[in-house]
Symmetry: C2
Subunit: 261 residues, 2 copies
DNA sequence: TTCTGTTTTCCGGCATGCGGAAAGTGGCGT
DNA sequence: ACGCCACTTTCCGCATGCCGGAAAACAGAA
């Protein structure tokens, strides 16, 4: 049924325990002991022992039916992540301005390895439905924010992403690495990225980079509007301005250079 | 200088690694290796080894200066906590209504052991300054949300909280367990709690319980207004209504009965 | 330069995690 | 009612892999 996952049951250390947290995903927020064991590729008795520790600390919680969930404690600690809530708090006022003015969707994302993670998303009142979730992941190749983050990512990351087959969402989604490379070049020269009907057929998004004090691109903001109403170049100044404002509001300490992979 | 922390360096297991995450707090979001060791009460070499694992997984990140931070990965996983982002997502629309109508502060909190954790906080445009942070902790005895959560908490928890000395914020803060007991009783009979100048001298908060499908109190909502403008009983219906609406919006599965302590 | 407070590496001993197996639990279909 | 099956929990002996002192490599500050 559920692919039991190719597993190297070799157990460095804590890695084992962390593997148990990884099995929770946006669409699997609740798991039983044996489900966890299956998904993590670990023997049940081992999982039983480890979960006991995790529950004792509050990283996991157990409900009335005996199923495990991610615990509040973990959320609490997680909310201290500079690139998570920290970034969100800095950016929020500006994102709200952007949202109020345009009544459209605003998104804030950072890169994590070869994917992106949405840190905030404000739904405009009359906005296009988008398929994103705060804390959710997405490919770097299709969205506006993704193109920005990829355009300014280290070359190794770009190569790794381009080497793999590219996910298609609509029949306008770029699928050859040639197309993507061109889009990345455009992004760098213009200073902002455009994603026209790449993810859904009714959305157009324009995204701009957020820099830290050291000049590194640490995040990307985007505005997602209905396709065909306003041209991208008309939206761009608005997004660029917000991105600059956020950059200026970031704390002087570099928000950390994460070792990806 | 920094209290090196009374430590039982006895090392069950994973507990050790989790202890390393605990050393991060809202006002200490960035720590060096040896600071972590000191605060966790563990030998440096042990910490060095463990952090390596944590960094490899993404629970911690390391910045240019070699300092450690909570990693984005942890935030990501943490955002799957039903009592964290999950709850927030259910409640947000209602909280926003409440905020828009009153232009005051709205707060959503859950109980964790003998304290409360703020899950969301919306700052009204003309609102009283409050000293709370999303993801932050607070005593159960002073705020409106706290009284609600305590009023419906299991007796052991109530006793434990009342047995300890009660923290004072203003000279109107209740400090005897007798006073608090009375307030809890009032809360239960009225169905909502009032905190009048208990935390700051210019704020009045009214809070109501949020129930899950099983009828358990799982969270509390509150409205924080300027003291002296509107009487509490005039605000109560608004808060009660919102709390009911949120209760109805919660998923049928009980959001988990956390083993506290 | 020297000195103090780091971070990193190394390694031998033994504590501790490991996981198979068997006992305990519960839900479901017949 | 019964027995079946899949799940959870407990137990225990083996050897794995963690543990942390000590010393080396490093980085600033005086």
């Amino acid at each position: 049924m559920t692919p039991p996952r190719a597993l190297e049951r070799t157990g460095p250390v804590v890695a084992r325990a962390l593997r148990l947290l990884e099995v929770f995903t946006p669409d699997r927020r609740s798991l039983t002991l044996s489900e966890m064991a299956r998904h993590a590729g670990l023997p049940v008795s081992t999982v039983h022992r480890l979960t006991a520790d995790l529950v004792a600390w509050g990283a996991l919680e157990r409900d009335a039916h005996g199923a495990y969930h991610i615990g509040l404690r973990l959320w609490e600690i997680g909310s201290l992540a500079p690139r998570g809530l920290g970034l969100r708090e800095c950016a929020l006022p500006f994102l709200e301005d952007l949202s109020q003015v345009t009544r459209e969707n605003v998104q804030l994302a950072v890169r994590e390895g070869t994917e992106l993670v949405f840190v905030e998303r404000i739904a405009g009142t009359s906005a296009v439905p988008v398929l994103t979730r705060v804390g959710g992941r997405f490919a770097l190749t299709a969205t506006g924010v993704g193109l920005v983050l990829l355009a300014y990512a280290p070359p190794e990351v770009q190569e790794e992403v381009l080497a793999r087959p590219i996910k298609r969402y609509t029949d306008r989604t770029m699928i050859t690495s040639r197309e993507v490379r061109a889009a990345l070049a455009d992004t760098r020269t213009r200073g902002y990225a455009v994603s026209d009907r790449q993810v859904t057929m009714d959305a157009l998004s324009v995204a701009a980079p957020v820099h830290d004090a050291a000049g590194e691109v640490v995040a990307a903001v985007s505005l997602v509007v209905h396709h065909g109403v306003t041209p991208a170049h008309a939206i761009a100044p608005l997004v660029l301005t917000s991105a600059r404002a956020i950059s200026r509001a970031l704390p002087p300490t570099p928000p950390s250079v994460a070792p990806p992979e």
